[in-house]
Symmetry: D2
Subunit: 140 residues, 4 copies
């Protein structure tokens, strides 16, 4: 039940001295893929901010690395909201190179209202937000 | 006479505290677009290494910023080898957001033979390499 | 029982559009602090490679974010090898801004022998390597 | 007549597949060293914003690479405001590894007033700002 999938080519600058992807880049890709997931639903960080006066700060993240990828490899990253808690959403990521599993990971994001001067306050995720994820994609 | 063009979406992590692209990212994109240009000609850094025993280290780089771009903007980056010297090639980049000019830049790259233990020695660019850039694209 | 601590200033380019650290940077800092821990024990990735013919690829990583930091904040990152398994070591990280807890995290690293042509094979961590971590620091 | 100097260790993640620094990182360090220069004068991007209602966007940047550096090398980066124009300042950078010259570079920054809703308007650099650079350092 993948909700969003993107493909990218591993660039020269993504790899380290050992010739494989420097691992923090996977989190950059997770975050970018989350943005892509939002866009595919007609949303974005800005849209969330202006429509719900909310942001989705990270609480917990993790990744598990199964096999390395290197310069010029083409990978796919799959993102799915795997869990809705009252004030949290969990996004699960799967990275593959062809059929080969490269990595899995997750981001646990909070729902936080902006309550003036950049201060944030945890709040329940509105149903209107969740509804975006049950509809058909509006854009890729 | 563009030789290669790619499109990308500005990601959340590409922007800084002022909400616009943190400028070193443009050079990451220049380098990535150079890799894309190579791939479009049937080449890559690895191919250059194995076929010519050579690398293309940077000598000089620069960029000129005309207008800012931000999260969710879609930009195009155009790359062209604008000059061939005996031991140098110059790659020119143009970044646009729609019709709006965002930045121009260049990379001056040397041609260097690998002469053992990672040591490099400047050398003339072989005609066989240049020929790749006058042919039709073999791949995108 | 901290084994290594470093201090750094949050730079402009480390922060995102929301004005706080873009989270993948924490993993860049974890990895850098692991390198610092190695150096404080008279080791380095290169030393591990040449002395043990081994590398320490990442298996699992994670981070938990408690409070945000922003441009110009000074943080400390503390690294400790918190667990030795036969073929794995776990490094625990604690990030603080003054007394305030910013994040915790870990890296689970494998011990892998280089067995020719860049191929890796899991192996038991040699006692000689572990011994580096029970001695006094040789350098900061 | 160096105005600010900082030292840093090349980290694993700063290097690319060829084992040398991936060049966009030099611009990250230039920008960070500019922030360090500001701090050494009792300033910061935030201070410039609140005191002068101004920002210093990049107009032109460049770098020239003389010799490579790699993982574990210690480099120094020297920053000096080398030129004051009416609406521009030029910051010159010199990167060394011991006595060996690694790179030189520059940033040409504009002075821009924030005129509402994030819109910027070029303006003359106030003498009060320039005065910070002729005084003794207030902090390192």
């Amino acid at each position: 039940m993948s909700q969003f999938k993107r493909e990218l080519t591993i660039e020269w600058g993504d790899c380290d001295d050992a010739g494989i992807v420097f691992y923090p880049n996977f989190f950059y890709w997770f975050d970018s893929t989350f943005q892509g997931l939002l866009r595919s639903k007609g949303l974005s960080q800005r849209e969330i901010r202006s429509r719900f006066n909310a942001v989705t700060p990270l609480v917990d993240v993790g990744a598990n690395f199964r096999s390395p990828v290197t310069y010029d490899d083409v990978i796919t990253i799959d993102a799915t909201v795997s869990e809705w808690a009252e004030r949290r959403l969990r996004v699960a990521y799967t990275v593959k190179c062809g059929e080969r599993l490269v990595a899995t990971g997750f981001e646990l994001r909070a729902w936080a209202q902006v309550v003036g001067e950049g201060r944030l306050k945890g709040a329940a995720i509105p149903d209107e937000f969740k509804a975006f994820f049950s509809q058909e994609d509006v854009a890729q």
